[in-house]
């Protein structure tokens, strides 16, 4: 497939732009989540399911996935254009991100033809919501130490154990599940297997966890003699660690193949500049304070720098010596930046910084305060920033293990 021409891309962009312009829904009378990890109410869930389905039906999701499984069969460039248009037109986020960005590409890459036929279309249409069962309560950062057991029994696997931080755990139809099928291997990684597990079977219970914001979005998921089909396995038995690592590469965008679509709306430095014009400190707009201005410029520089690091990844000669540097560090850099950016956004609001979501006098309905607290989901989830720093240290710089 040759790359699309500029004209083809321009035409597609115009069409997509027109469609989103026309179809992006108005803000409902409840607050929408800013990330796919923050869906806490049924209202939010149904609204976002419906929206994802409409985007898919219009062809702007999975545009680059194979036609035979429900995708659009187009060049990746078109999906990138569609995603960019979602952002530009203020589209709500795509609910089924775990399916679209992690489970989907995995199934397309490693699944059987049957698995692809069974799962891919439902991922795109939001008919089948996916969740992820990696972390466990006693060893959040130590994935390889997963203790959830999978025991083969005839034509089924019997699952026992507990997973935690399951995004959409209470809504999902399927889970990508890392469990131990071979006990007592000398190397703890060698006993793990990876499953595409149904969620709606007896013995699986998902209990919502209340977040530090006071809202919901995750569950703790308990497996008690839950029986799942024998063909749920993806990859070989005992190869689960490799499959999980591959999944994390999708998650960190270190590997491509995602269906596309907006999954997170984070404030950027320009929005914070805009806030600085509106928020008042000491009787004048915050942006008139020279110290605030200096900090705003610093944040704009950093924001642009992070974007440029993304763009630089595609220029091989500029990444020769440590080719994985930018890929392996982007989660660390981005998530820590967002946390600091939100923290600074709060600081510009004068006494009104003390309001929270729900107060009519809160600036932007308390978005900065809530986003700051929610930002920890990204500096903690998917491997804490401290773990990320170890990864960069060891796999990019070659420093010894801690």
């Amino acid at each position: 497939m040759s790359s699309p021409s500029k004209r083809e891309r321009d035409e597609y962009r115009a069409e997509a732009s027109a469609w989103f312009e026309e179809n992006v829904p108005a803000q409902p009378d409840f607050m929408l989540p800013l990330t796919f990890m923050e869906v806490g109410t049924d209202d939010q869930f149904h609204f976002l399911c419906d929206w994802q389905n409409r985007v898919y039906e219009a062809g702007y999701l999975g545009a680059a996935w194979p036609k035979e499984y429900g995708g659009g069969g187009l060049d990746q460039a078109f999906q990138d254009i569609a995603t960019e248009q979602m952002r530009r037109h203020g589209s709500p986020i795509m609910l089924n991100t775990i399916g679209l960005s992690w489970a989907g590409p995995l199934i397309l890459d490693m699944g059987t033809h049957e698995q692809r036929e069974r799962y891919i279309k439902g991922i795109l249409s939001a008919e089948d919501i996916w969740c992820q069962g990696f972390s466990e309560p006693d060893h959040g950062s130590d994935l390889g130490n997963a203790q959830t057991r999978a025991v083969r029994d005839g034509d089924e696997w019997v699952i026992n154990g507990t997973k935690i931080w399951t995004t959409h755990g209470n809504y999902a139809k399927y889970m990508i599940l890392l469990a131990r099928s071979i006990p007592d291997t000398p190397n703890k990684y060698a006993g793990l297997s990876f499953f595409l597990s149904p969620m709606r079977v007896p013995g699986i219970e998902a209990i919502p966890i209340r977040k530090l914001t006071g809202e919901y979005g995750f569950t703790e998921t308990f497996f008690t003699d839950a029986r799942i089909p024998g063909d749920s396995l993806i990859g070989e038995e005992g190869q689960g660690w490799a499959v999980a690592m591959r999944t994390l590469e999708y998650e960190r965008s270190a590997r491509g193949g995602q269906a596309g679509g907006l999954s997170i709306k984070v404030p950027d430095a320009e929005e914070v500049v805009d806030l600085a014009r509106r928020a008042r400190r000491s009787g004048r707009p915050a942006i008139e304070d020279p110290v605030v201005r200096d900090k705003l410029v610093e944040l704009l520089i950093e924001d642009r720098g992070l974007g440029l690091c993304g763009a630089r990844q595609r220029l091989a000669p500029l990444n020769q010596e440590r080719p994985f540097s930018l890929g392996l560090s982007s989660k660390l850099m981005q998530t820590e930046f967002i946390r600091r950016l939100n923290e600074f956004a709060i600081s510009m609001q004068g006494a009104r910084a003390a309001y929270y979501v729900g107060d009519p006098d809160a600036i932007d309905d308390g978005t900065s305060q809530r986003s700051y607290l929610n930002a920890f989901s990204a500096t903690i989830g998917g491997g804490t920033s401290q773990i990320q720093a170890n990864i960069v240290a060891e796999h990019v710089l070659g420093l010894p293990k801690s």
Binding site: R280, R352, A354, I380
Partner: protein, 374 residues
Amino acid sequence: MSVRHGTIGLSEEQAALLESASKFCRDKSSIEAVRRLIDDELGHDPAVFEEMAELGWLGIAIPEAYRGAGLELAEVVPVVEQMGRNLMAGPFLSTTLAAQAVLCAGTEAQKSQVLPELVAGTPAALALMEPHADWDPKNIGCQAVRGEKGIELSGTKVLVTDAGVAKWIVASVVYEGSPALVLLDAEAITACKRRRETVVDETRRSFQLGLDGVSVAEDALLDVSLVPAALERTELAGSLLGSAEMCGGGVGCIDSTVAYLIDRKQFGRPIGSYQALKHPTVDAHLGIEQARSHVYAAAHTFENGREGEIAVRMAKAHAGPALAFAADRAIQFHGGFGFTYECDAQLYRRRALWCENQHGDALYHRQKLASLIL
């Protein structure tokens, strides 16, 4: 006197109060109690507040003539610090600050009437902030005009802590072109349009107060000539006590984080053995230690004019970022648990946001200091 050097000291009364407040607050404000009161509309336990009054703590810095102990705000600091340490709720701080305003600018009649009541445990509040969000207490939009019904008030006050239970509220207004303070009694407070605000620190109860249509008698005005001094004193007293509360919070936050770092294991080791968590925790601890030193010095120097102002503003400028850092790292270092509502780290982080934005944040105080000391 060099700008570099502060002075620090400790009275016997402070030491004694530190000891008794430490025990009292620990007993009365367990973390379970704190969380229970978050869900309580009132937000605090009136019986505990009454006990504090019985212990004389509401009269610490009130002259004996008004049934107080005749000590200074320095002696209130250990009490507030220990309240902060245990995230203790209630109108202690509001009442203390309102009393200071009355003491500073009240007429003799007002002082004689109100102060003994406050000492005895009647909750009171200060209404200074307005929607402009400016910390300068002289930036006042609310008006008081002499009219048919006495002094007629108008405008809106916001972020009035404890206005839901206060029996007296001291509000700032403009009267005849000058900043003034007016004393609202229970009746006037009832006449105000009150709305409970949603604030980041859920252990607080904060209100918007609409003054339109409310009127008070002429003798509700505090002595206009003393108002500028009272406004400044209130800002500094609020900053001092807020800093003390943050220092206490910082100690509590670090204690609970350290306990988790020792207890929680990952990769077969207690996570506190990893320097990535250990060293920033040391930084957080040392930030709070420095803040405490500033606060004790500010308490010691409080009544000392310009020296006191410098010491207080330094304390507030240091304590806010110190607690914010400690609590931010506390959330992060609790890992997944830190992201839950159940983990206490968020309580300290919300507290830090609240206190930082009462009576001026760090940048505000640094900018005031720049004019004072550079």
